[in-house]
């Protein structure tokens, strides 16, 4: 059931518009000025309100962890983030109320100037790959072995919250000595030697492969 107030506004507007339209379809009144105005409300004003609020609500829904986990190839990632005993970076961040239900989006969003449309375009690419790129036919185990990030994870996303300028960060010798590599993404914050993988189970699955695939599929 929709629970956000935007979704409720959208549903109420849609119901009111539908009532006007159904009345017109059933009674078929003459197209005089009052009926033209009623139709304008039923076809123009209320559906526009419903479309705008449902679009905002839909966009908001696409940032939810449950949405990301609705494709079966992401089930492992979703379950790990839900697991209260897991110590993976993803699970620990998902337990943080600042990330919470939006943990996937907060960590994987693009924070550049055109970050929002770029992130949404990336999401559309995921949907395309799921339905037309063979992901849908993959088993969960196969997906965990074969699906990789399309490019290296950007440390800038970690640094949205974890500043690299604070004294606490700088007092770690490895941070200071590798600052250039961290800034240039040559070393990932979420790597085995540093803070560990965000989704370690998938790395174990990939490591279990006899040899890396020649052309790994990318997510």
């Amino acid at each position: 059931m929709p629970h956000s107030w935007l979704a409720i506004v959208s549903l109420v507007a849609a119901a009111a518009a539908a009532a006007i339209l159904l009345r017109f379809l059933v009674r078929r009144p003459a197209l005089d000025l009052p009926n033209k105005l009623w139709l304008f409300i039923g076809i123009g004003a209320l559906p526009t309100l419903s479309a705008v609020t449902s679009t905002v609500s839909g966009m908001e829904a696409t940032t939810q962890r449950e949405f990301c986990g609705s494709c079966h190839v992401m089930t492992g990632h979703f379950e790990d983030s839900e697991n209260p005993l897991s110590q993976s970076l993803a699970a620990r961040h998902s337990r943080n109320p600042f990330f919470g239900e939006r943990a996937c989006y907060v960590c994987h969003a693009d924070y550049g100037m055109y970050g929002y449309p770029v992130t949404k375009a990336g999401g559309m690419r995921h949907v395309y790959l799921y339905y037309f790129g063979g992901y849908r036919q993959m088993s969960r185990a196969q997906a965990e072995r074969e699906i990789h990030l399309v490019k290296q994870y950007n440390n800038l996303n970690c640094r949205q919250c974890h500043t690299t300028r604070a004294a606490d960060w700088r007092r770690i010798p490895d941070h200071e000595s590798m600052r250039r590599e961290i800034d240039s993404n040559q070393v990932s914050c979420a790597s085995a030697g540093c803070h560990g993988f965000a989704h370690p189970f998938s790395k174990f699955a990939q490591a279990a492969l006899p040899s890396a695939p020649a052309h790994p599929k990318s997510e």
């Binding site: 539908a18 559906p47 449902s54």
Partner: protein
């Protein structure tokens, strides 16, 4: 394409256009509302593409119906040639 559009416009009557507008709007509303109950990838994408397309089509049909109706009313209220008042007799000689 233009010929087809002209033929469609010629065949389109005001009641048919308004009914089509109502049906298109209802379909669009159903698609948009469904995505709120089932916010997965395909319902959300369909709501934001097909649902909105139906909404635009509905509004287009409505506007066309109103334009045709206004033109019809304009043609009906225009003075006919046979009912025009006789010309005034000129007083100048």
């Amino acid at each position: 394409m233009t010929k087809l559009l002209k033929r469609l416009l010629a065949a389109a009557t005001i009641p048919a256009l308004t009914r089509a507008a109502c049906v298109f709007a209802l379909v669009g509303l159903v698609l948009m509302s469904y995505s709120l109950f089932d916010p997965r990838a395909i319902p959300v994408i369909v709501a934001m593409s097909v649902g909105h397309a139906f909404g635009f089509a509905a509004f287009g049909c409505y506007v066309l119906a109103v334009v045709l109706d206004v033109r019809r009313l304009g043609a009906e209220s225009a003075p006919r040639a046979d009912s025009a008042p006789p010309p005034r007799a000129s007083s100048e000689r």
